[in-house]
């Protein structure tokens, strides 16, 4: 089926060339980092994880979000999602590849990465995260490919594949749960040490992932003559609304616990993120604009996708609404959550994180690589759809 990715119009090739250029810039930037070390990042002794790990965390959610299509279609036999389930599965593949690239570029000794498998360590959550991420990647490649092949031949998918489809559902939940456990099991990091992190991650994932799929479906409708169907889009928007509100509810609970109990450790990071933290007379607040952008974009997004006129009246408003939600939750989880957790440091010092240009280029390169893969996968999926229709 790969041949489907080799035929396309000029816009298709221009888009791939554009992504290829960013990937190349990212690749060269990575070589610089590889040969010099992670000193050409903004990370420090106090903020020891930066953009790479925060992007990884967010993208695990995007990958898990695809299950919001798989579950209704395969468990509840919700037929409207039949055409776009493959979009969710292929998005998961691209997002997981980005996750793995972000982990690799974050390692100080990337050539030793296999040590995680050579010395398996069940008491490390990172070991389990590797297991579930690789497992989920395998399941999505397998299920996506087998079902698409069957669809192309216009036969029912083989029965055995449903076993893997059903297994992939708890796997989707597990990838984000285990990713949350990377953070929420660390003593002395009060902001992360909260049992609601995993549910919150899942809620934001089930909003951000489907939001991206809706945006993709709207783009594909314009550029690839692929209509996901009104009912499917509408149902997805409903899922996004509930998941997005659940995420905000969980965040509000964090605020309540912090500010009602008034335990300093529980409030410091929230203050740092949303209003700035006063420390020995200096106010540290470099993430505050991002967090307020998150809140404002959430309100705009939820309004656009809830209000009937904008939700059903025009694809543009709906797309903008979903983009607002996606960016809002990217700011929340892909910026604030990871970076904020390091402030203040365990010895009550504050170091703020400013990414290095080289780090930004690598990050852009990884995102571009993910969208490159996603474009090719979607091209294949839609090529098959068109072939059947023809």
């Amino acid at each position: 089926m790969f041949e489907k990715a080799l035929k396309g119009n000029n816009y298709y090739w221009m888009w791939l060339a554009f992504l290829g250029f960013i990937i190349a810039v990212g690749g060269i930037s990575y070589l610089r980092q590889f040969f010099y070390g992670l000193a050409i990042t903004g990370m420090s002794r106090d903020v020891s994880w930066g953009l790479y790990i925060s992007q990884f965390t967010f993208l695990v959610g995007v990958a898990a979000g695809g299950v919001m299509l798989v579950l209704p279609y395969y468990i509840h036999n919700y037929k409207a999602f039949g055409r776009i389930t493959i979009l969710g599965e292929f998005l998961a593949i691209a997002a997981l590849l980005m996750c793995m690239m972000f982990i690799m570029v974050d390692l100080g000794q990337p050539l030793r990465a296999l040590n995680v498998m050579l010395h398996p360590t069940p008491h490390s959550m990172l070991f389990w995260d590797m297991c579930v991420l690789l497992g989920y990647l395998f399941l999505n490649i397998l299920c996506g490919w087998v079902i698409l092949t069957a669809e192309r031949k216009q036969v029912a998918p083989p029965k055995w594949i449903y076993f893997f489809v059903y297994v992939s559902i708890p796997f989707a939940i597990s990838i984000h749960t285990v990713t949350a456990m990377l953070y929420c099991g660390l003593p002395g990091r009060h902001f992360w040490l909260s049992a609601i992190i995993a549910p919150r991650f899942l809620a934001s994932a089930f909003a951000a992932g489907p939001a991206l799929i809706v945006i993709m479906a709207l783009i594909l409708k314009r550029v690839a003559n692929f209509d996901a169907g009104k009912e499917a889009i509408d149902k997805m928007v409903t899922i996004i609304i509930y998941a997005a509100i659940a995420n905000m509810f969980f965040l509000a609970l964090e605020f309540f616990v912090g500010f009602y109990s008034q335990i300093p450790g529980h409030t410091h990071t929230l203050q740092y993120l949303f209003s700035g933290l006063d420390h020995h007379g200096h106010v540290y607040n470099n993430l505050v604009p991002f967090m307020w952008a998150f809140l404002i974009l959430f309100v705009i997004g939820i309004a656009l996708i809830s209000y009937p006129a904008t939700r059903k009246g025009s694809d543009l408003w709906l797309g903008l609404g979903c983009a607002s939600i996606f960016i809002a939750f990217w700011l929340d989880k892909g910026i604030g959550f990871v970076l904020g957790g390091f402030v203040p440091s365990p010895i009550n010092e504050i170091t703020e994180y400013y990414p290095h240009l080289n780090e930004l280029l690598i990050t852009a390169g990884v995102w571009a690589a993910g969208f490159f893969v996603l474009t090719i996968l979607y091209k294949i999926a839609i090529g098959v759809e068109h072939e059947i229709e023809a």
Binding site: Y36, G37, L38, A39, T41, G42, M43, S44, R45, D46, S48, W49, I75, I103, D106, L107, G108, Q109, P110, R112, A113, N115, V116, L118, H119, T121, P122, H123, S124, M125, L126, F127, W128, M130, K159, Y162, F163, Y166, V167, I169, P170, L182, Y183, G185, L186, P187, G188, R189, P264, G341, F342, S345, P346, I347, N348, E349, T351
Partner: protein, 280 residues
């Protein structure tokens, strides 16, 4: 027929996963987390048994020792130059690079204020002495170390003698241990550290590190094996500002001092059981 099969697969899939998860995952997880504690308990049992007979049986030294340190902050106030000497002795002994860029710095032991060492002991009306003077902090060599728990490759591990060690050749540089350490004791080699080591001062008997690995205080494991005291303790001379010894031996100097003085550990509420004690 189809409907039945679908139902069966649903149940089969979920129960397989649940079974696998519960049996292997949780079991091994708990086993791993408790192994450090178990080792410590075993060491204690061995120690008490051997103290009874006065024999050092087949087990060897490693099992019966649990090394610990007592830091007398009063002594560091009496002699304000002592802190610098201690830090220098350690960093020379272990070829710790002197990197001027703050975000990239590497430190094994360093002087800091009471409020930084004991942030959970916040006090609006801090006494003058503790507001002004500094005390040394270093890796606590916890009996229940979170860094060891989170490391995905066992590159950081707990020796039977209680020392939390680093394998610089296995570390992949994921820095999970830095996020996991609740005392900020770990440093990462953001770039090649060797240009920042004064070659005239270099200790040829201790390895330098490569870029991309985490490092921290090792309680001078290499010196203890030779029967020497840690470099920082030695730098204190006879002042008894730092006392090092076997916590499992009730007759050791450190145990005697712990018996006689009120001591505190850094953030004991986290259950990490630090092996470094302070007289403030």
């Amino acid at each position: 027929m189809d409907q039945k099969r679908r139902t069966f697969l649903k149940v089969a899939g979920i129960s397989t996963l649940a079974g696998l998860g519960a049996a292997t995952g949780v079991g091994r997880l708990i086993g791993g987390a408790e192994s450090a504690m178990a080792a410590a308990e075993e060491a204690q049992v061995n120690a008490s048994a051997q103290n009874g007979t006065g024999q050092n049986a087949a087990c060897g030294d490693a099992c019966i020792n649990r090394y610990g340190m007592l830091i007398d902050a009063r002594k560091f106030r009496e002699d304000p130059t002592l802190g610098e000497r201690v830090v220098l002795a350690c960093h020379r002994e272990h070829n710790v690079p002197n990197i001027p860029i703050k975000k990239d710095e590497i430190k094994w032991i360093w002087m800091t204020h009471y409020d930084n060492a004991f942030p959970e002991q916040a006090n609006l009306y801090r006494d003058e002495v503790n507001a002004q003077f500094q005390l040394p902090i270093l890796c606590n060599h916890c009996d229940n170390p979170p860094c060891v728990r989170v490391c995905p490759t066992q590159a950081t591990f707990r020796n039977a003698d209680g020392i939390v060690m680093m394998d610089y050749h296995r570390c992949i540089g994921c820095r999970f241990c830095m996020a996991g350490c609740p005392y900020g004791s770990r440093s990462f080699n953001w770039s090649d550290p060797r240009p920042y080591i004064d070659s005239a001062d270099m200790n040829r008997d201790f390895p330098t590190r490569t870029r991309g690995v985490v490092e921290k205080c090792n309680f001078c494991d290499e010196r203890i094996r030779k029967g020497l005291l840690p470099a920082c303790v030695e730098a204190c001379g006879d002042s008894k500002a730092m006392v090092f010894g076997n916590l499992n031996d009730p007759n050791s100097e450190i145990r005697q001092m712990l018996k006689q003085h009120h001591t505190v550990q850094r953030n004991p509420s986290l259950g990490t059981l630090p092996s470094v004690f302070y007289i403030v």
